[in-house]
Symmetry: C2
């Protein structure tokens, strides 16, 4: 097939993104790393982080080899899968791991430099931290587009199955990215929260020493954790979201326009082009984030918001142009689908901000509950988190309906055409939300860098002011990151929906491969590829009275809870070990609390590493196993029930956990700012308990759920051949 | 239609149950109420409880009048509903309220008498408490069967619409019961936990005085709360479950055998007969719970288990006989469906026991986490609760599949006949689980009576030994109640499924009433009543790719979280007020902590009453409003999505909350028994925080969810006419 010239924008954008990332990295490296003590601490953290990442990749590599062998057997032995799948799967995992690795490397080099720059001024700190965050953002989108472009070119040349086959095969590299992301989020999440919770419980609550105090043996582990969890984990996570949304939308485009060969190719590359243009707009946005010497907090906030808002606004405008120039059918409607997605992202972001920032009532009330003790703080936080699910869910509901209807010209008939075009609209809305990931991820990723810089400043005893500045940078990031989070959550839900539709296509392909026919609604026996969605649904009895669908939905909702429970328990267990170790050191190493003896940091790093290593395996494998088992026992109807139950239950649970955690965090900060008794008060101790409970909520279990939902869909898609053979 | 003579067993069983309840009540009243101090305290609690119940019924009455007027308008004004509906709705609410009222009256008379009997011996205490619990159990089943029998006879005489019309009309009295139950659970739950949490936080944690200490101003309110929440709330709740399962199964029977008039009537009365026989077996079981003078704990436990196990075993056997004698088609398969349900109940009960009793590892680990503080206790408890959803969900999944397949002769074809017969099997499995409610509720309801007796003993200063005995009775109840809880949770899920199917029937009836036709799978235009389930599903596009279904599922899962969040917040707010009041009294009333001055109990009772009153309204109305709004906006497909999402998400959330709460409670008890430092230790304080957080989990939000799920279905059923008119 002839590749249209517009497509070449995709590899170009990828190369530009990677080049810019490299440039920002070099610039950052030229900055001064500060005093010898600062270098030393940064070195500790860097080595700890790299050592952990190597360990994690070793485990993940093993899992990848096993899975790739299974896929190879399915493809070459059973002929139940496309032969490109094992390779595509591996590259997805590899690039995702690479994005995490580069992001973390940058972050660990940037923290001391940020702290050092913050010794002079706030804006100096921002410049280094934000540009380092941008390295991560641009690496993720650059590698993502590279992987997409390469595979599209390869398959276009060698795979003769047509665009539906090509796009569904490419989805399997999404599965590689999802698998990598799950391990990164779960392992990194357990690592960081074991260290954080352990350090806080003994340090802040029992020994009354501040955060990141060098006397606390778990401090280095805590700082390593920020890097492996918040940076490397987040990088892999968003790499997966980014590629997942583009790939699933491409697959939906191939199906929706299967009857119009010319239009089909345009529909497939449209999401890639939106993403490619988004790269340039992100870079523009990054350059808009300029700081003047001696800038105030307000200036910085304005400049950060300017960058993200301009990028988002321009991508909205650009979408109209891209889709019009591409000459795609109903370009206007599809563009409005994208607008719907962007609007939904903004609303969810604002709602997140409302429920988790202490500028608003909900979090203020949690702080106030601290006056009556930790139990009421927990009750209030859980209540707030649960209530906070309302706006995001309704927003997503409206976005689903609107982007669906805009894309199919307000045809609510559920005819085959209306349905598949509408679903394509849902997918493209998700792509729009993630297209400016280059800059939104930069604002997100620079938070942990500033946090680590603060840790470095504290441990290097640079004084209150530097710490204040790094804290301010961190807070700044939290404010602007809300929109980014809204986009991430919203696009995950929409992408998961798109994957649901891709699953149906994959089942059809698997049936064709196995020479199976089906009976359509009129009672005629037809080829699977000719079946419309209503035919398919009726043939596989995927309706809500089929007990298999219902049982699947139950298991899906349960899987989300089970997965969260396992990761929560893992953090609890690991944190308990950390607490015991810190207590032991306080007890056995004389003079540690007086600052006369150095704690054994290495022992704590080791505990976190081993715990994360050990604990991430079971929940991750479970996430892969559940859809396979459900598929073999309950068939296609059961799998679709599972995915819908998992999506509805998991999305709500994820929002609850993320927001409850965020609200507890800020409720504590509010008390620390001098409210309800301030630092050291009864209310402070109570809100610290809330913050500690919230840590695994918002940084381990909650974020992993977003991946879980999509990974279950990905596994179902890749294993569709097996489901067909068994059920 | 001729009523078969076997039907008369139903009213007979009802009268016998009510007669036995009256007899047990009289016997209990003849026992001595103890010292003047004991009478005085019991009087306080009784008056507080009755005053609250009156207030609650006043609010509920108002809601009922409004809803009845709406139904009357729908029935007589719009002709969009059966004309009997407003009356059936009111009697359901009335009888449910009556069951709660009688249960609570009995409990408030029994507590001092139980304490007084426990002054002499353990078995004396058990006899009074258990028989009083039996009053509640028998009143619930007696009133339930009375309502069912009366309406069946009335409608059979005056409604000429046939059995499908009669049984779906009867379902609306289930909606009355659900509405009443929701208010009772939410209002009672908020009342009891506001008092409990408030009393614990200031009493146990801050002032270091024991539970139920008369120096604590919130003690009376706490004891009143046990009655209005755990007794009256539970009574209304299980009345609803009991009637709901029988009525929805009857409705499914009417549909499944619509083509065989003779068989149809048998299928309708089969669930009623199983319930009626269950009444006699429950009474038999109650009499098997005999205690000898000087019986040990082990004796008592054996005797209690004997009662419940024999009843459960006999109903399993009796089902075969009932269905065989009734001559129903596939009686053997249907009997096995019941066995499946009973087995599922036992397994869920055992799993609950495993995850919440401190004889097993999960709860022991929560206690152990107390050594590292309250944050790890909370993390561990939430983790355990989430993991504990796995076994119940899988068990319910297996039970759904098996009872479905047993009932339709292992026909998995999803043909219209196989589907409706299978669904009838799921319903009848739920009926089997609840048929011995007379005795299982007795073992459940006697717990709060023993608890209150303990409160009375403490406040009357009867000494350690009496308190020990009442505590032992309470613990005994907790052990045997596990199976009862398993049955209650499991049957709720199965009943909700049955209601889903009833909704489809009701939509068809509404369409017939509105003279609407539909197009079947073959493309012919047919009467709605002639549509099979696959026709219906295809016509309304109720498949998993329809965005309305998906959005509905999202909203359903979110509704469960939102509802829990609102009730959690309500408890948090009310508890905070209580804490402030108790602190104020400790501060302002001199000599209160030395026992020299009497606290102002009345003020605390008032706070709880007003808070419960005020706070129960919004969440309850929301539960009624959501399905109506979804129906009007997203139509039939959206409603079915909502119900499935609500069921899958809500069930899992309910199990999580109930088990986490139970585990925290017992983890605290384990520490109090002298482990990990015992009473007053660091671990004790930490586990008290867990217990306090767990209170609203297990006694307010969790139990209300079971009702929420079913109420949403009931509302959808009753409002089907409106949905059809709008969407």
């Amino acid at each position: 097939m002839n590749i249209p010239s517009a497509f070449w924008l995709v590899p170009v954008a990828s190369v530009v993104a990677l080049g810019m990332a490299w440039y920002f990295f070099r610039t950052m490296m030229q900055a001064d790393e500060g005093t010898p003590r600062m270098r030393e601490i940064a070195g500790h953290v860097r080595r700890g982080a790299m050592a952990y990442l190597k360990q994690q990749y070793r485990v993940v590599l093993f899992v990848f080899i096993v899975l790739a062998l299974i896929f190879a057997f399915m493809a070459y032995g059973l002929h139940a899968q496309n032969t490109w799948v094992p390779f595509a799967f591996l590259t997805g995992g590899f690039f995702s791991g690479l994005a995490g690795f580069f992001g973390m490397k940058t972050a660990t080099y940037a923290s001391a430099r940020t702290a050092n720059a913050a010794r002079k001024s706030l804006d100096g700190g921002l410049r280094i931290a934000f540009r380092s965050g941008a390295v991560m953002g641009l690496t993720v989108v650059g590698l993502g587009l590279l992987d997409i472009a390469l595979w599209f070119l390869i398959l276009n040349k060698f795979d003769n199955g047509g665009l539906i086959s090509i796009t569904t095969t490419m989805l399997t590299f999404g599965m590689g990215a999802s698998t990598q992301a799950l391990f990164a989020r779960v392992g990194g999440g357990i690592y960081t929260k074991a260290a954080d919770v352990g350090a806080d419980i003994v340090g802040k609550v029992e020994a009354d020493i501040p955060e990141d105090d060098p006397r606390n043996p778990a401090t280095i582990a805590d700082n390593v954790g920020d890097n492996v969890g918040d940076v490397a984990g987040m990088g892999a996570d968003l790499y997966e979201s980014y590629c997942g949304s583009i790939l699933s939308t491409a697959a939906l485009g191939a199906t929706a326009f299967a009857m119009v060969p010319d239009m089909q190719l345009r529909a497939v590359i449209a999401p890639m082009l939106i993403a490619a243009v988004g790269v340039f707009l992100s870079i523009l946005g990054i350059y808009l984030v300029r700081t003047k010497e001696g800038a105030t907090m307000r200036d910085l906030l304005r400049s950060l918001s300017l960058g993200t808002n301009v990028s988002a606004l321009l991508i909205a405008v650009a979408t109209f142009a891209i889709l019009y120039l591409l000459g795609i059918e109903n370009w206007l409607g599809l563009s409005f689908s994208v607008i719907t997605g962007l609007a939904a992202g903004v609303i969810i972001g604002q709602a997140t901000e409302y429920y988790t920032s202490h500028s608003y009532k909900p979090t203020q009330k949690i702080s106030e509950a601290g006056l009556t003790g930790s139990a009421t703080v927990i009750i209030k936080g859980i209540g707030t988190g649960m209530i906070s699910t309302c706006i995001p869910v309704i927003t997503i509901g409206v976005a689903i309906m609107l982007s669906y209807l805009c894309a199919n010209g307000f045809d609510s008939s559920m005819s085959a055409g209306a349905l598949s075009k509408g679903l394509y609209g849902i997918g493209i809305a998700a792509v729009g939300m993630l297209s400016t990931l280059g800059i939104t991820l930069a604002t997100d990723a620079y938070g942990p860098i500033a946090d680590n810089a603060g840790g470095n400043a504290e441990m290097s005893e640079l004084g209150e002011e530097v710490r204040h500045r790094t804290d301010a940078l961190d807070a700044l990031g939290n404010t602007t990151a809300a929109t980014g989070k809204g986009f991430a959550i919203g696009s995950a839900a929409l992408t998961a929906l798109a994957l649901l539709a891709s699953y149906i296509e994959e089942v059809k392909i698997a049936m064709e491969r196995a020479d199976m026919t089906l009976t359509n609604l009129k009672g005629d026996i037809i080829q699977a590829s000719q079946a419309t969605i209503p035919d398919f649904m009726n043939y596989f009895q995927v309706n809500l009275m089929n007990p298999r669908v219902l049982v699947g939905a139950f298991i899906g909702a349960m899987a989300a809870f089970l997965f969260c429970g396992l990761t929560m328990e893992a953090v609890g267990r690991a944190a308990q070990k950390m607490v015991e170790e810190v207590r032991r050191q306080f007890h056995e190493i004389k003079g540690i609390l007086e600052g006369k003896a150095t704690p054994d940091y290495g022992r704590c790093v080791e505990i976190s590493t081993r715990a994360a290593q050990h604990e991430m395996i079971f929940p991750s494998l479970l996430a892969i196993a559940i859809p396979i088992v459900v598929g073999m026992v309950l068939g296609v109807a059961g799998v679709l029930g599972l995915l819908v139950g998992g999506l509805a239950g998991g999305f709500t649970l994820a929002v609850f956990m993320a927001n409850a955690g965020g609200a507890w965090d800020n409720a504590k900060k509010m008390v620390e700012e001098g409210n309800f008794g301030g630092k050291g008060s009864f209310a402070h101790k109570a809100t610290i308990v809330g913050d500690t409970v919230g840590d695994p909520f918002k940084d381990t279990s909650g974020p992993s759920l977003n991946i879980l939902i999509k990974l279950m869909s990905m596994v179902s898609i890749v294993m569709a051949g097996l489901t067909i053979a068994f059920a």
